[in-house]
């Protein structure tokens, strides 16, 4: 689903994954301008809401209000972090966060309690996607870069693309 720039986010609620991303009380809808400001992947932006609780302070934040967003862009510990929410294209497909660290993709997963975890920090979940990305960056040594494998969702029983639903022996 691609929502035209400037339109109301009609249908966005349908694309909110179950369970809905956690958020602070009183989260508000924002228009896609925020996402556009993030720059990356503007073509697939849509104003699905995902909330961020009290992001950690970091240098050179480009999104200072940062409490509710469908995209983020930060520099954290010298790493360039970008994230954008990509809604599912059909009701049978969940949306997902497309995240990069220094341009390399990092796969995020949802936990049933609404938390988030990444392939790099896989046994622990975090309240928001952004905090999951921070935790992943925390594990990286100086100069260490994400590999291609860090962008891969689990292939078995996992359902990001078509034809992966209900994989079962």
């Amino acid at each position: 689903m691609v929502v035209p720039i400037g339109s109301a986010p009609v249908g966005a609620e349908d694309a909110v994954p179950r369970p809905a991303p956690p958020g602070p009380a009183g989260r508000t809808r924002r228009d896609v301008a925020r996402g556009l400001r993030a720059g990356a992947l503007a073509g697939v932006l849509a104003p699905v809401l995902a909330a961020f609780r009290s992001p950690r302070p970091g240098p050179a934040e480009t999104d200072p209000s940062g409490d509710t967003a469908s995209a983020f862009e930060r520099t954290y510990r010298g790493r360039r972090i970008r994230g954008v929410w990509v809604p599912g294209r059909t009701t049978a497909e969940d949306g997902r966060w497309h995240v990069t660290v220094d341009g390399r993709p990092l796969h995020l997963m949802r936990r049933a309690d609404g938390g988030w975890l990444s392939t790099v920090d896989h046994y622990f979940s975090h309240p928001t996607p952004l905090e999951a990305v921070y935790a992943a960056v925390d594990t990286l040594g100086p100069g260490e870069r994400l590999s291609d494998a860090a962008s891969e969702p689990g292939g078995a029983g996992h359902a990001h693309g078509e034809g992966r639903h209900g994989v079962r022996a």
């Binding site: 392939t119 920090d121 260490e144 078995a156 639903h165």
Partner: protein
């Protein structure tokens, strides 16, 4: 006849050497990296759709039991005397314990980049290049105890909290369930941060580096950790008697949130042609010393 899995802290120098040599040979043959890929492929989280087998699901224990058996088969094809030792992290709790020596698993990662510099799995030895990792460094990483913000390994009493639960698992059969032996041992709980990291999960955090990620299998300590987790399943069965069985016995129904997302006792456990029921009793294959 059943073979014996031993406490890693009690291995002789020869047993250590043979275990290490078998691992290096399985790696050299290219088989080891298939284990890494498989673990990576089977990590699906419970906030996503689809079947979960290896984590955040009742089959966490049988999945890893079978996974260890497959690695053990590969090791024993190299050296039939080798079995997977277990790491009793309630007892071997420090960075200087018997595991982290140059003739066994090697030591902690160095401060600058967490690279393991000692032992047979150090990159510089040339026998343990990470082919399928979360980063492109190619070297094994560890951060034992997490220097920047130290944490402790789980204690006997942490483990006891899991073992004392007489129920194997309970609805909703995922990482949010607060009842049941399985999730208490796997270690998902409510809340965030250090206190919420329990038992199995917490050990992954304590070792750090490669063990934090989906490719945790790259650190050989993965197998020793999971052998000890597997031992807890055996202990739990012994403690609670014949009624202590894998749950759910039947698959969740069509209206259930977990319909087709978990493996019931008599269903096949992908990727194998085996059921949790068939993996509950391992007495004829191996035993723990």
């Amino acid at each position: 006849m059943a073979y014996v899995r031993k406490d890693a802290g009690t291995l002789t120098a020869v047993e250590r050497l043979r275990f290490v040599k078998a691992l290096l040979e399985v790696k050299r043959r290219g088989e080891y990296d298939e284990f890494v890929r498989m673990h990576l492929a089977y990590y699906s989280s419970d906030g996503e759709r689809g079947l979960r087998t290896a984590h955040m699901a009742p089959s966490f224990l049988p999945w890893h039991r079978r996974f260890l058996l497959d690695l053990e088969d590969a090791l024993r094809r190299v050296d039939s005397a080798v079995t997977i030792p277990y790491w009793d992290w309630t007892r071997d709790r420090t960075t200087t314990s018997a595991l982290w020596t140059a003739d066994f698993l090697g030591g902690d990662g160095r401060r600058s980049d967490q690279q393991v510099m000692t032992g047979p799995f150090a990159y510089g030895q040339g026998n343990w290049t990470i082919e399928v990792g979360m980063t492109d460094g190619g070297f094994l990483t560890r951060d034992l105890g997490r220097r920047r913000d130290p944490i402790e390994l789980p204690t006997t009493s942490d483990l006891e909290q899991a073992l004392e639960d007489p129920v194997y698992d309970a609805g909703p059969w995922d990482s949010t369930v607060t009842r049941g032996f399985r999730n208490k041992l796997e270690g998902w709980s409510t809340g965030w941060g250090s206190p919420s990291w329990r038992n199995h999960n917490r050990v992954h955090r304590w070792v750090g580096g490669a063990m934090l990620g989906a490719a945790s299998v790259n650190d050989p300590v993965f197998w020793l950790h999971h052998a000890f987790v597997d031992l807890q399943w055996y202990r739990w069965q012994r403690r609670h008697g014949g009624g202590a069985r894998y749950l759910p016995a039947e698959p969740p129904g069509r209206g259930d949130e977990q319909y087709r997302r978990i493996v019931a006792r008599h269903e096949k456990l992908p990727p194998w042609d085996v059921t949790p029921d068939e993996l509950e009793d391992i007495g004829r294959i191996y035993r723990y010393a």
